[in-house]
């Protein structure tokens, strides 16, 4: 796997609901440098997809899912959680660092929470912490 460079955008995988919160982010500058990929449910996210994004030099993967007990498909968000953990473990194992995939639970109304998360991720990437 090539070394991760910061040449590509960080990826936000989100479900249809949490994408509403991303779309409602007031300060749109926060979204610069991020690329949003909307899935019907976070449970659709596969480990392979995460790894492929990293392989394609996307420096960071942020996964947004509905809060637990609020998934329209019951437990899609719990499945996503497991896969995110697995992806991080794999990254660690192959030596590219385990902190490249982050998952948060946000509802469609949580735009302010998304803003905070985006700021934190940006700091993390800019600070070279990954």
């Amino acid at each position: 796997m090539p070394e991760i460079t910061k040449t590509r955008k960080a990826v936000i995988f989100c479900c249809e609901n949490s994408s509403l919160a991303v779309n409602a982010v007031k300060d749109t500058r926060l979204l610069e440098g991020f690329e949003q990929k909307v899935l019907p449910c976070s449970g659709k996210l596969e480990v392979g997809l995460i790894l492929k994004c990293l392989e394609r030099e996307h420096p960071f993967i942020l996964v947004l899912a509905c809060p637990l007990d609020n998934c329209k498909y019951l437990k899609g968000n719990m499945r996503a959680r497991k896969r995110v953990d697995l992806a991080n473990n794999i990254c660690e194992e192959i030596g590219i660092g385990g902190g490249r995939v982050r998952m948060d639970y946000v509802s469609s109304l949580d735009a302010h929470k998304v803003e905070r998360i985006l700021k934190e991720v940006r700091e993390q990437i800019q600070g070279g912490l990954i």
Binding site: P40, E46, G48, R56, S108
Partner: protein
Amino acid sequence: MSKFLIVGAGISGISAAEILARKGHYVEIIESTGAIGGKVNGYACKATDSCSRCGVCIANTSLAGAIRNSRIRTRTSATINKVINNHSLDVWIEQKNPQIDYSKCSFCDSCVNSCPVGCITKTTRGEFTQYIFDHEKCLLHKGKACSQCLENCPSGAVEINGAVSDMKISAAAALIAIGHENYDARNKVRLGYGRLENVFTGSDVEEILSHQDYLYRSGEDVAFIQCVGSRDPEAGRNFCSSVCCSYALRLARVLKYRNKDTKITIYYIDIQNFDKTFTAFRNELEGMGIDFVRGIPFSVERGRTGKLKVLVPDGGAVSSAEHDALVLSTGIAPARNSDRIADLFHLDSDESGFLSSPEKNIFVTGTCSKPLSILDSMTAAGEAVRFISGCGYGEAEIPEITPHETAFEVRDIPLRRDVLVIGAGPAGICTASALKLMGYPVTLIDKNNIKPEEDLAGVDFITGSELVSLDGSVGNFIADIKTPRGIMNFNFGVIVAATGTENNGNTVSKKGNIVSLDRLGEAVSARKRRREASAVAIVLDLEIDETRASTETALKTALEIQERERYQVFIFCKDMRVASPELERLYQSSRDSGVTIIKYSGRLSVEDDGSGVIIEFDDPYLNRRVVVQCIIAGISPGGIPQKADPALMKLLGITGDCYGQIQENNVHLFPAGTNRPGVFALGSCRGEHFGPQILLDAGAAARSIDELIAPGIIKVELSNVVVDQDKCILCLTCIRSCPSRAMIINSEKGCAQSIAEVCQKCGICVGECPAKAIVLPGYEDTKILESADDAGNY
């Protein structure tokens, strides 16, 4: 086709409008403010990592859908001036322009960008976007002939007809849904609202937390004061507002979650049970370190340290505490102009200001009729529509379903109109009769040989019968039912489970002095009456918190026994759940008749010693362990977790919640439905025991079923998941992981396959399939990975 008028564009008015429009009616909504959505607009999502089921996101989704409906016209900043209701209902209104017809609006912001004075604000919350005009700034209202927003709107959605226009609306009936105002906390001068800094109301906090993480700084010490202006006879408000415990506990949980250092105290009288997983929720809060203190502070002053000093009654004495910020949990009070609307529409108003209508073409719903939560408001709105439709106001046109543009083939799948209802308790009987009235063939089965009191004419009622196998899917279920005449095979379009719970008899003692609450009355009668007064105990909240339903039974039983000669009834409870005006009255009259209420904390033990029962508990007032002896004790089944029949759940292919009741914890997402399309559940098998609520739920279930099967077909877009026959290894993972039971094995092809009309297109099976044999059309990996090539900019 009829036209209906709805006054108030809160969640109640909007929900009712949406249902009427779906039935093919036209609806005009008159809203006095400039915004659609009512109070809910200012509420925060109260989820941490897990949802607290506050319902705000659901309300938003509903609002977004409704305003775009072409049969619903919402007029904002509009006032009603005159109403004449003789043979027809005529209403004269005055509206401020510009107005937006959201069924035409494409939300492109051209109006916002073209306004020369910037008087249009766009607000977006979740799916719900609207434009709000500031008439103070608007040139039109300054006498200028500005119409920039109209001219620049590409879709003709903006309407201007002078600054203010008058019009007459004639309607078949009107629904009043003007909602509530928060109780004015300034009335409680000693609690400091408006007088001391950092004293907030519940709605202030909702507002603040909807856009920031903390109240006024992080690491604060916050106290919630419950029942401000509720359960307060002195203020003329002797009823529980029923929403404050729920929002306060949820807000407290969010505050604590967002900042672990926040210290939180909740001052309360009785915490109301507001949710089917309430006990787990409250335990979680206590586990987080949130302090529950019984007693409502009566005075707040700025202390010497600069903090807010509160004085709380503590047994006979007074204790004091200091906090950085206070949240006054204010309840529901009548809407500001409720008197005017009551005059115009000839409504009745009760002593607390809640409205009802004696006129047969005027209806009232939402929080202007009684305290309701968002989800309850939505259910009540549906019930109001059922009344309105029941009054026979003209035939609705069946709205044509405008197919949304899709690249996929759309197929009509025929659907049976027969309904199976399992369980002949109140919930089942109510749904069965409602569906029968709507003209559907209904089969009602019950495993016991019972004879219902209600007239079930027309319903095919088979007693002593059980479902033994089930195949097929929504619209075409194939069921084997074991009847006294042998196994019979039926076809149904829809199945309703109303099977109640397995009665948990464990608590009833062998010696016979501990009985189930419903048998307490007769058990007391069976005993010889003694000369001196005998103590009878009713024990509540034993393992989980009581609901309104079980509290109602307990209070009624207590009152009945207390009124017999020479009995003294004690009710042992953690909290008294009286979240409805009728219950508050019942509570009052049982206390008046002499029933003694004892509130305990922690665990209570009930032992049958052969001659009577011994009850031991921690008394939080006396601060010690107390032992009480009674001749007999009735245990409420509401205080013990009740499971639905697991075998039936398995047979129906539906999942349960953390108590083993039907429906997942996220029941708010499908109020009457289950994870499996075509299978519905209601009544106590899904955790609702309160009679009035069961009736509402049964109506709601009948309506959703009607909507599903009335067309006789399901239009299905064939974009469901596709399985690659060569890759599928028949491991059954997809079948196990599908939340809606859409996957089956195609034995001819030797691979898994999805059922188009069941598949919800979530893609969970795609994510789980170890062989990568499943594809969700439109979400192929290559498509997802396509990305703009421009580099990230760091």
